[in-house]
């Protein structure tokens, strides 16, 4: 697959992943653009790996966690407005959803990344540990703390999330 084909097919999925990871569309655009710029230069190598999209997605996580992202914009572009129309049972669920997005945004980066990689991307803890450069026990500890900060009760009924690819 050449680079232009990859971008045409996978950029939307990368943007969704980066937006879930960063919580902000403007930051997600920055991250994805920077990562694709770097991936372009290494495409000969990346296209030869077993799962190029997984590789590029790891680059997105690394970019989000790296020092480059500690210098934020002085004036970030306005983010996309929350969806307020035609939602489920109405105001209560929207409020709970928006509050959850707010709590996600307040998580430390590593905790947020661990939660997203497990519950959005569906990665096993061992792979998350490799991605974050820590032990599996640390991943589980990070997720435990994150879920507490997100005030999520795991004993309540739940469904598996299917990442939109």
């Amino acid at each position: 697959m050449d680079f232009s084909d990859y971008v045409a097919r996978q950029r939307p999925a990368l943007m969704r992943f980066a937006t879930v990871l960063t919580g902000q569309t403007w930051l997600a655009e920055d991250v994805v653009s920077d990562v694709l710029g770097r991936a372009f230069e290494r495409w000969d190598r990346i296209s030869g790996v077993a799962e190029p999209h997984a590789y590029v997605r790891r680059m997105v996580v690394n970019e989000y966690l790296s020092w480059r992202r500690r210098l934020a914009r002085t004036s970030p572009r306005a983010d996309v407005e929350p969806d307020t129309a035609g939602y489920g049972d109405g105001a209560n669920e929207r409020a709970e959803r928006d509050e959850m997005i707010h709590r996600l945004s307040r998580l430390p980066r590593k905790q947020r990344a661990a939660v997203v990689l497990r519950y959005y991307a569906g990665l096993p803890d061992a792979e998350i540990a490799t991605q974050l450069g820590c032990r599996v026990a640390t991943v589980r500890s990070q997720i435990h703390r994150a879920l507490a900060a997100l005030r999520i009760d795991l004993t309540a009924s739940s469904r598996e999330y299917q990442e939109t690819s």
Binding site: V20, T25, S33, M59, R70, A72, R109, Y119, T138, I152
Partner: protein, 278 residues
């Protein structure tokens, strides 16, 4: 308490926002390919200061030599994870770029000049009424902003951190290169690890005599011949001091290659971030 449904709904909403944003974005191939670089709002005025390395606590990474980085060799990384201790009720933390510039002048002394072209700090936000103030003897008192007063501050991941950042060019001994410098109050439990920089170059973590952690790295940039030195101090008192110096116009890889080497050696960079004059 929420259940996982709320988390999944949050993911779904963030995906929707991504799709909306993508509708308005140009395809990446229609844009000029850009190196990863800072996209900051330039400040109206620049500051040129004559400074140098003097009076600083000169601490060098073990095994370091001029231009080297501690015991690092090309391609080596450390998996040591740094955990930031609880930040104190911060005193003396620069809350504006001007304060950071003033402190940087003191630390550098009189052997280098620097020009600030961007305040690479953060989202303008409201500092809460309980924001920190300087304690007596630590410097000029800065009254805390109150109410809706907006200040430029470094955001923590939870929006609470304070600090400042500056970006620009630094010249020493006739050699010029891009730099960025930021100081902020670390979050208790915040971690960092060389693993996230594994694709950039060499990175090492060292424990200093006072228990602080020092992360140093040498990163090869996308542009041929571009190199950036990285030094980041996770101080025992919770401060984080981070500085990059490059032989390119910008440490992130933009602005062209200005010289064969950055204007400061890796050891000089380390001495700056570990200086007791901060």
């Amino acid at each position: 308490m929420s259940d996982m449904r709320a988390l999944h709904d949050a993911f779904g909403e963030l995906e929707r926002r991504a799709d909306v944003a993508s509708l308005g974005a140009q395809p990446v191939l229609q844009q000029p390919r850009r190196a990863f670089g800072l996209r900051l709002v330039p400040v109206a005025a620049t500051v040129v200061a004559v400074a140098g390395l003097a009076g600083a606590a000169m601490w060098f990474a073990p095994g370091g030599d001029d231009g080297g980085v501690g015991a690092a060799s090309s391609g080596t990384t450390s998996s040591t994870t740094i955990v930031v201790p609880p930040a104190p009720g911060w005193t003396g933390m620069p809350k504006t770029a001007d304060e950071l510039i003033a402190q940087f002048k003191v630390v550098l002394g009189d052997t280098a000049t620097f020009e600030v072209t961007d305040t690479g700090s953060a989202v303008n936000g409201t500092v809460p009424d309980h924001s920190v103030t300087n304690q007596p003897g630590s410097g000029p008192d800065v009254p805390p902003p109150t109410g809706a007063t907006s200040v430029t501050s470094m955001p923590n991941d939870d929006g609470a951190r304070n600090g400042a950042a500056i970006v620009g060019k630094l010249t020493a001994a006739g050699v010029t290169g891009g730099f960025d410098l930021q100081i902020y109050a670390g979050t208790a439990g915040e971690t960092d690890t060389c693993a996230v920089y594994a694709d950039l170059g060499s990175c090492n973590v060292t424990t200093l005599p006072d228990g602080s952690k020092l992360m140093t790295g040498v990163y090869e940039l996308q542009v041929q011949g571009g190199v950036t030195y990285h030094a980041q101090l996770f101080a025992a008192d919770g401060r984080v001091i981070l500085m990059h110096i490059s032989n390119m116009g910008d440490p992130k890889g933009a602005g062209g290659v200005l010289g064969a080497q950055p204007p400061l050696t890796a050891d000089q960079l380390t001495a700056i971030v570990t200086s007791n004059l901060w």
